[in-house]
């Protein structure tokens, strides 16, 4: 499955961190690590039982998707 197809399977969400973690609780955009883990497991790391998203991996997928989009644009 291509990077573009994998990215399309991610479900972007809006959320707030729990108040104990982020007292100001602004509305944020992102992903659920658990959902990302199902699609791009290598993008998620577990640190002491907490799931973290590796932005380097995600950015690499975005770069690959960009290349696919450019390739598609040049073909048509």
């Amino acid at each position: 499955m291509s990077a573009l197809e994998k990215l399309k399977q991610l479900e972007p969400i809006q959320f707030r961190y729990k108040k104990e973690l982020d007292p100001t609780q602004p509305l944020r955009a992102g992903f659920s690590a658990q959902q990302v883990q199902q699609v791009i497991p290598e993008a998620v790391m577990e640190v002491d039982g907490v799931l973290m998203l590796d932005m380097n991996v995600l950015k690499n997928y975005l770069r690959l998707a960009r290349e696919e989009l450019l390739e598609n644009a040049s073909k048509s």
């Binding site: 809006q14 944020r28 640190v47």
Partner: protein, 202 residues
């Protein structure tokens, strides 16, 4: 010769350690900006959201017969373009108050990503650790995940903070809904909106 070697080593390695610890340490004895300096972060990851947006727009136009992105997508792209120049990628997110307007709302960009060391410390300072609740010592009474998060972050060294990890565990979040808007415009938010546009236009 030997003095020059050790002096150079001190400035190089010491400067790198100073940078990695967000100048909390001062190994090289030089102020920030002197001695070893970190490379520009934005240019090193090889990915540009601006280029991605351009590519996405071109690809979408090619696929959809030139119809262009949805009004919402266009709004986001415009908002991104206008706000890009002020995106704080290398400053302390907590102290940053820059904002831009998108979709009728004001988007502040403090960020909470554990990205570079500076972001890590900002995040760390922004976290109210369970062990700090209730005052003196005694450890956490709340336990559970938040305790684990606090413990995990506390165990991280500055070197580990150099890994751009973002706290995305669903158990740390509340008010979760499909993405519509955000008050924080960071790398993760931009990626999320990029994916949202991809999904809507496919």
């Amino acid at each position: 010769m030997a003095d020059n070697f050790w002096s150079g080593l001190n400035r190089g390695v010491g400067g790198a350690i100073d940078w990695a610890t967000n100048n909390k340490w001062d190994i090289d004895g030089l102020s920030p900006g002197q001695g070893w300096n970190a490379p520009a972060a934005a240019a090193s990851d090889g990915f540009s959201f601006g280029d991605a947006m351009d590519a996405f727009t071109k690809g979408y136009s090619a696929t959809m017969g030139g119809g262009g992105p949805t009004p919402g997508g266009s709004s986001f792209l415009n908002a991104y373009t206008s706000g890009k120049g002020s995106t704080p990628t290398s400053t302390s997110p907590v102290s940053t108050s820059s904002a831009f307007t998108a979709g009728g709302g004001t988007h502040s960009m403090p960020g909470i990503i554990i990205d570079k060391p500076v972001d890590f410390y900002a995040f760390k300072d922004n976290v109210q650790y369970p062990t700090q609740q209730g005052g003196s010592g005694g450890g956490s009474k709340s336990g559970g995940l938040l305790d684990t998060v606090g413990k995990g972050l506390g165990l991280w060294t500055a070197a580990k903070a150099a890994f751009p990890l973002t706290l995305c565990d669903i158990r740390t979040k509340t008010d979760i809904l499909p993405l519509e808007t955000t008050e924080v415009n960071d790398d993760l938010a931009q990626a999320a909106f990029f994916v949202k546009e991809l999904r809507e236009c496919s």
